[in-house]
């Protein structure tokens, strides 16, 4: 199977996984009940797909579980106990059939034998699991035919109704925790943990998958996320409608479209106008789209990419002797390498070349952006402070779209609409912030006071 290429930098920029003190995208979707489900979800996050059929198939599956309210049928304690029980495949821990001797009975009265308790807990958990599962499967019966879940449902049902479990199911009862005799316990222990081990493990496996489907589906339903549509890789379409950042409260959605005719988005805007947030929302949506997950957008259509590269919070590695600028250059080199191998990629560069002097940054931004216009199979979003670079590029007729995030001044305080507009902005709030803080006045007043003192003395 083809996977989307990503790296640590991208995962970190988009905060896919946890960093101390930061909410992650993984957390947003992790509504799984079971531990197995949680780690399965994490591996999905680590390996987004790069195959449109596979993506759409998975996405349909999640969608099925987002149509109605579903709850994972087995409670966390039960499935946890089963997993723990199954982990132990040591024959020596198998419960021995045969009547208890008097001394054993006596011992059990005083304090239960640990091995015995282990087996009893495990078997009881299995019985509970079958009980909870059967009623869930029955509920689902009518909804499943002709749905994307049909096949998987079929194999789950086949597994649960396997003849091997007939004996086990005799002991499944409505009543909670019927006490089993030592003899029956030993028999069930042998069947579950040893005779039909493979089958039980397969069942658990399917349940973990189910856990993920339900968790993701329900997130889509509760947060009103929408499912993306993956298109074949040879195209170069990227269509976002009303995309927003899932973690920003009252986020303002934006529309965006990239194609082979317009494969570069040149983004400008003042500090704090929301450039980085917008770029992150786009990156996150596309990343999740490649996983077949629901995204924080009304509509997303994308040609499948080989890789996503972002460069949003590039840290300089002073210990390795690399300056910020050099770190940026190396990142750009990585992208250039992928492009030269005719890969189809999506790239986000935030504040390109901010670690160098203006003239260099200007030259580098222009020559690089110009070079990217030839790579019509890949898409780029580039933000910069150096609007002059945009102005020069705009004079040539290149495949670049110019957008900016505006700032509106209300008296002396800037306010941000966070809605993309066409063009290049020359909004500059830097000086206004300095003026608002009264720094220059403070310094002027200090000098005047001093001069006055000199005058007086």
């Amino acid at each position: 199977m083809n996977y989307l290429r990503t790296d640590e930098q991208t995962l970190c920029d988009l905060s896919i996984f946890e960093k101390p003190g930061k909410a992650s995208i993984y957390d947003l979707y992790n509504r799984t009940v079971t531990q197995g489900g949680g780690s399965r979800l994490a591996s999905l996050f680590r390996q987004p797909l790069a195959d449109e059929q596979e993506i759409n198939r998975r996405s349909d599956l999640f969608q099925f579980f987002s149509l109605e309210e579903y709850k994972f049928p087995v409670d966390a304690v039960t499935i946890g106990s089963v997993a723990y029980y199954m982990d132990n495949d040591d024959v020596r821990s198998q419960l021995q059939p045969g009547g208890e001797t008097l001394s054993q009975k006596f011992k059990n009265m005083v304090a239960a034998d640990a091995d015995h308790v282990f087996v009893e807990d495990g078997v009881q958990a299995c019985l509970r699991l079958f009980h909870q599962l059967t009623s869930f499967l029955k509920k689902l019966e009518n909804r499943v035919p002709h749905s994307p879940y049909e096949n998987l449902y079929g194999s789950l049902v086949r597994c649960v109704h396997d003849a091997a479990f007939d004996h086990l199911k005799k002991h499944v009862s409505e009543k909670h925790e019927t006490r089993l005799s030592n003899f029956i316990l030993a028999e069930l222990d042998k069947q579950i943990r040893f005779d039909h081990r493979e089958l039980i493990l397969k069942l658990l496996d399917m349940l973990y998958d189910l856990d993920v489907y339900i968790a993701v589906g329900q997130v889509a339903c509760k947060k009103s996320f929408h499912f993306a549509k993956a298109l074949p890789q040879d195209g170069s379409i990227l269509k976002f409608a009303k995309v927003y950042h899932p973690y920003v409260e009252n986020a303002i959605p934006n529309d965006l479209q990239l194609s082979s005719e317009h494969n570069i988005l040149f983004l400008t805007g003042a500090n704090m106008a929301g450039k980085s947030t917008l770029m992150k929302s786009i990156g996150i949506a596309l990343y999740l789209g490649h996983m077949g997950f629901p995204v924080a957008a009304e509509h997303l259509e994308f040609s499948v990419r080989d890789a996503i590269y972002t460069s949003i919070n590039l840290a300089d590695n002073l210990n390795a002797g690399a300056s910020h600028f050099y770190a940026e250059v190396l990142r750009v080199k990585e992208v250039a390498m992928a492009l030269s191998q005719e890969k189809k990629i999506f790239v986000i560069f935030d504040e390109l070349f901010r670690g160098t002097n203006v003239k260099d940054a200007y030259d580098a931004t222009i020559s690089l952006t110009r070079a990217f216009t030839n790579k019509t199979g890949s898409q780029f979003i580039i933000s910069t402070h150096i609007m002059e670079a945009g102005e020069l590029l705009a004079e040539e007729s290149l495949s670049i779209q110019y957008r900016y995030l505006p700032t509106e001044m209300k008296g002396n305080t800037p306010s941000y609409t966070r809605i993309l507009k066409e063009g290049i902005t020359d909004d500059r709030q830097g000086m206004i912030i300095i003026q608002n803080e009264g720094i220059l006045e403070m310094l002027d007043a200090g000098i005047q006071k001093k001069e006055l003192e000199l005058w007086n003395s």
């Binding site: 190396l330 690089l368 020359d426």
Partner: protein, 438 residues
């Protein structure tokens, strides 16, 4: 009066931190006692603010360096001794005797450790006294009669030669009676003298450790001045003390030339030079040696640096805003008439060029009029320098880059003027990025 600085500055200059690699504290930390370590930490936390005190400390360290004292003291024993003398104070020799007999009885009856421990600690105190008298002996033998350390030396002398300490004949293991005597002596009679003695020992420990480092690294001692005719800082061949093979540079900041405007390409060594200045200035105010051929400075009230300002995402500050707030903090102190040394690296790098240009220009023009403060400002925006050319109290220097064919080389030696070097594009070309995209 306290020396004004803040956490950001301490981090920028990498001053504190026993467990941080390359910290200045680590560089000088060759002390032998825990108390010495704490004292040194305290010195790092509060540099001095008057010339007399600074020069006095400097003279002490320098004197000790010349004497080449071999100071030995056991860390563990010193710690034990200092603990022992601060424990419960016996009222008189009778109660002391009683408690010692009690402990001895306990030892006989049920092997209580108390008596043993007490004996060991008394031994520790005696060892410390021995180390002190050894040190004193060396100071007297090698040194002059009147010297910068006389005051400390006299204190040692007075305590060690005091009759009660001098005539103590007890030897480990002590009898119960001797234990009681020592207990009463150390914890009651000369308790405060011993505390003082320990403190003087810690001080010697720190000074000797610093002197050792100064000798090993060839550091020199800066001269502090209170009132100077216009001089702020002057140093020749100044190097970063923690960097081996650093290239030395010169600096002279005077009241009528109080701002150094620094330019240079990436990696040319701007930040390192600023750190060198900040660190040396800070060390000099502590009375510690610096890496230079000579250094003279007028004592100031504080230092602020802004070299690696992080953006504080958790409180929603962008990088630019974090920088602005830092400049505001400095502006407030400066306009209150404080005498400060201020270092801004890459001022306003978090915003667009035009804003950065305007802001750097406006702030620099105003700052340099505070003539009792010294400033060093570096920037990528060399155009600001061109606009400032006519301002008489600004010095322009840059860190040059020399191209050997297409590979940049850095000399790290400060050159007068504003740089025209632009290696950014060359680095990009070296990495052959544009070729890849063809």
């Amino acid at each position: 009066m306290e020396f004004i600085t803040d956490k950001q500055t301490l981090v920028d200059l990498n001053l504190m931190g026993k467990y941080k690699t390359g910290s200045l504290f680590n560089l000088f930390n060759r002390v032998k006692t825990r108390g010495g370590e704490l004292l040194m930490e305290e010195m790092f936390r509060s540099p001095l603010t008057n010339a007399e005190a600074i020069n006095k400390r400097t003279a002490c360290i320098k004197y000790l360096q010349e004497l080449d004292i071999n100071f030995t003291i056991d860390r563990e024993l010193t710690e034990n001794a200092s603990q022992y003398i601060t424990e419960a104070r016996p009222a008189n020799i009778v109660s002391s005797t009683l408690s010692c007999y009690k402990e001895k009885t306990q030892e006989v009856l049920y092997r209580s450790q108390k008596f043993q421990i007490q004996q060991k600690r008394i031994y520790a105190v005696q060892e410390v006294l021995l180390a002190a008298s050894n040190l004193l002996g060396q100071l007297i033998k090698k040194g002059k009669e009147h010297n910068p350390c006389s005051e400390m030396q006299n204190k040692l002398n007075r305590i060690i030669r005091s009759s009660s300490v001098k005539h103590l004949k007890a030897k480990y293991p002590y009898t119960v009676q001797q234990t009681a005597q020592c207990q009463y002596l150390f914890r009651n009679k000369v308790r405060y003298e011993l505390e003082e003695l320990l403190h003087v020992l810690y001080e010697f420990d720190v000074f000797i450790s610093v002197a050792e480092v100064a000798k090993a690294k060839g550091f020199i001692y800066a001269r502090a001045k209170d009132k100077t005719a216009g001089l702020l800082i002057e140093a020749t061949n100044l190097k970063h003390p923690a960097l081996p093979n650093a290239v030395g540079n010169e600096i002279t900041l005077k009241q009528n030339q109080n701002l150094l405007f620094l330019t240079g390409a990436n990696m040319a060594g701007k930040s390192t030079w600023m750190k060198t200045l900040g660190v040396s200035f800070y060390l000099a105010h502590m009375g510690f040696p610096v890496g230079a051929d000579s250094m003279t400075f007028s004592v100031m009230e504080g230092i602020f640096t802004s070299i690696n300002v992080p953006d504080d995402i958790s409180i929603g500050w962008s990088h630019f805003y974090a920088e602005v707030m830092r400049v505001k903090l400095v502006a407030k102190e400066v306009s209150d008439g404080k005498k400060l040394f201020v270092l801004f690296d890459e001022l306003f790098k978090g915003t667009n060029v035009k804003d950065a240009y305007d802001a750097t220009l406006a702030v620099t023009q105003r700052l340099c009029r505070y003539k009792s403060c010294a400033f060093v400002i570096s920037t990528h925006i060399i155009e600001v320098g061109e606009a400032l050319m006519d301002t008489s109290n600004i010095q322009f220097y840059f860190m040059p880059t020399i191209m050997k064919e297409t590979v940049p080389h850095y000399t790290y030696s400060l050159t007068s003027g504003i740089t025209k070097d632009r290696q950014g594009m060359i680095i990009i070309e070296n990495e052959k990025i544009l070729d890849m995209l063809k």
